[in-house]
Symmetry: C2
Subunit: 341 residues, 2 copies
C-alpha cells in the first residue's frame, strides 16, 4: 500500500493535499536533548543543536550549511529530511521554516515567533508562561494571516528529544500510550525517568498552554499556535509528537486537524490510537531500498521527522507512485548524502 | 479618479490584484536617518527607530506595541500605515512582515533574511557586500518559495530616510530626477549633501548589488531579492524608493514588475517618470477628509509609505469605491489614532 487511513476520515485530507498546500516546518530545541542517551538525532551530543537548522537547509538547498554534512545518527543513518526534501523537489509545494526556539539559526529565510529555547523538563519548567503566551499569540496571528490563500496547511517539526516532551504532555493530560523513538531500542526507561520528574510539577488543573510551558517544548507553541490560527484544515506531519500537539490543539478548541505519519511510526508505537483526530499513514517503501542507510528506516531506525510521513503522503496525493518516489529518494540520497562521504 | 496608469501597461497589474495577492512588508533601518533634518518619520529623532516595527504592529493588530501610540510626524501627522491597515482590514488579503535590517523587532511574527542595519551612507558603506549577497540570496529563496500559490506579490516598505538612500542609488546608476519627501519642504539640500558624500565611493563599474551595499539600505536587499526570486508578477508598493529598487531589479534581469504609489507622490516628484517599468497611481481621496491629520497628505505631508498607494489600489481592485474607502480610513483614524489622544 502507498497510504491508508488508520483512524477517522482520512480520505478528505488526502483529497485536500491535491490542492494548494503550504508546508511549514516548525523547528527548535529543548535542553531535554542533553540528557544522556535520550536521542540519536545527531552524530554526537555536540551536533544535536545543529540538527534542526541543518534539516531545513537541506530542504531549501539540498545541502547543509551550519554543518558540512546532513544530520545523521551516530552510526550514519540519515535524517528523515531526505524524504521530505525529495517530496518538495518533486511536487514543488511552497514551504516556509518557522523558528520556534532554535539554539542555532539556519542560513535560510525563516519566520520567527520569538519563542525561547526549551529548558530540560527533568530539571525545571520548559518555558516561562508569559513568553509561551506571547509566542503562541504570534503563531496564531501568523497562521491566521498566511492560511487564507491555501486549501490546507501541513506542519512538520524538527526538535531532538521531542518525543520525550511529547510523552510528558500526553501523561499530563492523563493519556496512556508510549511514544515512538528514533532507535529500535526505544530508551523508554530514560524517557520515563525524565517524564516522571517533569510531572511532579503538574498540579492537574493546568490549561493546555500551562502544560506546554511546564513539560513541553517551544515547537509545540509554534505548531499549536499556527494550527489554532489557521483558517483552513491542518495536517500535522509527524508521529507521537503530533499526537501530543493534536491534544493541545483539540483542548484549545480547534477542530479540522489530522495527523499524517510514516508506517514506521505506526508499526512502532501505540500512541497514534490516542490521537483525537484522523490519522493517515504513508509508506515510502524504504524496505525495498538498495541503500542500507534508507532500509534502516524499515528496521526501526529514525522512522519519522521533518514531516517525512506527511511529505510522502503529499507526493502520493500529487500522483507520484511508490516505486518512483523510492527511486527519487535514492537519487536524493546519492546527491545529498553519498556525495559527501 | 480612483487610479490611473502613469506609465506603461498598468491595466494588467490592476487586473492581477483581483486574484490571489500576497502583501509583503519589508522593513528596516538605515543610520542615514540620524542625519539631522533628513526625515520626519517619527515624532522625534529618538523615536525614528521604532517607526518600522510600530507600523507593522498597526497592520497586524490595529495598535502599536513597541511604542504606545502610532508613528507620526513631529507635528502629529499619522503614519501612512493607517491607509494600508484600512485596505488590509477591508480586503483581508494575506500579508507577511519581512525584517530587513531592523534595529527594534516588532511584536509580530516576521520573516528574517539576516540583513544588517544600514550604516549612514554619508560616512561609510551601507553594508558589507558579503552580508548583502547572503541576505539577497535568502530573499531570493523566500520569494521563490512563497510566490508560487499567488497570482501576484505586492511589496511595501518602511524605512526612515529611505528616500535619501534611494536618491543615492538612482544617482549611482546615472539617473536624474528628484525623490519625494514626507515634508512639503523637501529637505533637498540635506539629502543632496549626504548623497554627494556617498557617491564619492562609487567608481562607476559596480554591479547593482555593489551599489546597494555602498550607498543603499537593507530594505533594498530584501525587496529586490524577493522580487528577483518571485515566480509571479510583482507590484512594488511605494514611491521614489521603489523607482530606485525597480532599477536594481531591472539591472539584475527580472522583468514583469510594476510600481504602485499614491497620487501625492506623483504630484510631488518627477522620479516616477524614470521608472523602468509600468507605474500605477491611486488616489485615496484624503483631500476630502474631514480629519485635518489625513487632509495633510493632500497638502504635501507624509504622502506614501508602508505600501499605502498599492494598498489603496488593492482596495479599488477589489471593488471598494473611493468615498467608501475614505470613510473606512477615517474610521481607522478614529479607532487607531484619536482613541489614543
Amino acid at each position: 500500500m502507498e497510504w491508508q487511513t488508520l483512524k477517522g476520515e482520512g480520505e478528505r485530507f488526502f483529497e485536500l493535499l491535491k490542492g494548494d498546500v503550504l508546508f511549514l516546518f516548525v523547528i527548535g530545541n529543548t535542553k531535554t536533548a542533553e540528557v544522556k542517551g535520550i536521542t540519536v538525532a545527531g552524530a554526537n551530543p555536540e551536533l544535536i543543536k545543529f540538527t534542526p537548522p541543518a534539516d531545513v537547509e537541506l530542504l531549501h538547498y539540498g545541502e547543509c550549511r551550519v554543518i558540512p554534512f546532513p544530520p545523521a545518527t551516530p552510526d550514519g543513518k540519515p535524517t528523515p529530511a531526505i524524504i521530505t526534501y525529495t517530496a518538495l523537489r518533486l511536487t514543488d509545494v511552497p514551504f516556509l521554516v518557522v523558528d520556534a526556539g532554535l539554539i542555532v539559526k539556519p542560513k535560510t529565510p525563516f519566520v520567527t515567533i520569538n519563542a525561547p529555547v526549551g529548558e530540560n523538563i527533568a530539571e525545571r519548567d520548559a518555558m516561562d508562561l508569559d513568553r509561551v503566551e506571547e509566542s503562541f499569540e504570534m503563531a496564531v496571528e501568523f497562521g491566521k494571516r498566511i492560511s487564507k490563500s491555501f486549501d490546507v496547511l501541513m506542519i512538520g517539526e524538527s526538535i531532538p528529544a521531542g518525543t520525550t516532551t511529547a510523552l510528558a504532555v500526553l501523561r499530563a493530560f492523563g493519556i496512556d500510550g508510549m511514544v515512538s523513538s528514533s532507535m529500535p531500542e526505544n530508551p523508554i526507561d530514560i524517557k520515563l525517568r525524565v517524564v516522571e520528574r517533569a510531572l511532579k510539577r503538574i498540579r492537574g488543573d493546568e490549561t493546555p498552554l500551562e502544560i506546554v510551558a511546564k513539560v513541553g517544548d517551544p515547537v509545540m507553541v509554534g505548531v499549536c499556535g499556527i494550527a489554532v490560527g489557521s483558517r483552513r484544515p491542518v495536517v500535522l506531519a509527524g508521529g507521537s509528537q503530533m499526537v501530543a500537539m493534536a491534544h493541545v490543539i483539540d483542548r484549545i478548541g480547534r477542530k479540522d486537524t489530522a495527523i499524517a505519519t510514516t508506517v514506521y511510526v505506526a508499526n512502532d508505537s501505540d500512541s497514534l490510537k490516542y490521537a483525537p483526530c484522523p490519522v493517515l499513514v504513508a509508506d515510502p517503501g524504504l524496505d525495498k531500498s538498495k541503500k542500507p542507510g534508507l532500509r534502516a528506516y524499515a528496521e526501526g531506525f529514525v522512522k519519522e521527522g521533518v514531516g517525512a510521513g506527511g511529505a510522502t503522503l503529499l507526493a502520493y496525493a500529487r500522483g507520484f507512485k511508490k516505486e518512483e518516489f523510492l527511486k527519487e529518494i535514492e537519487r536524493s540520497y546519492e546527491t545529498v548524502i553519498e556525495s559527501k562521504l
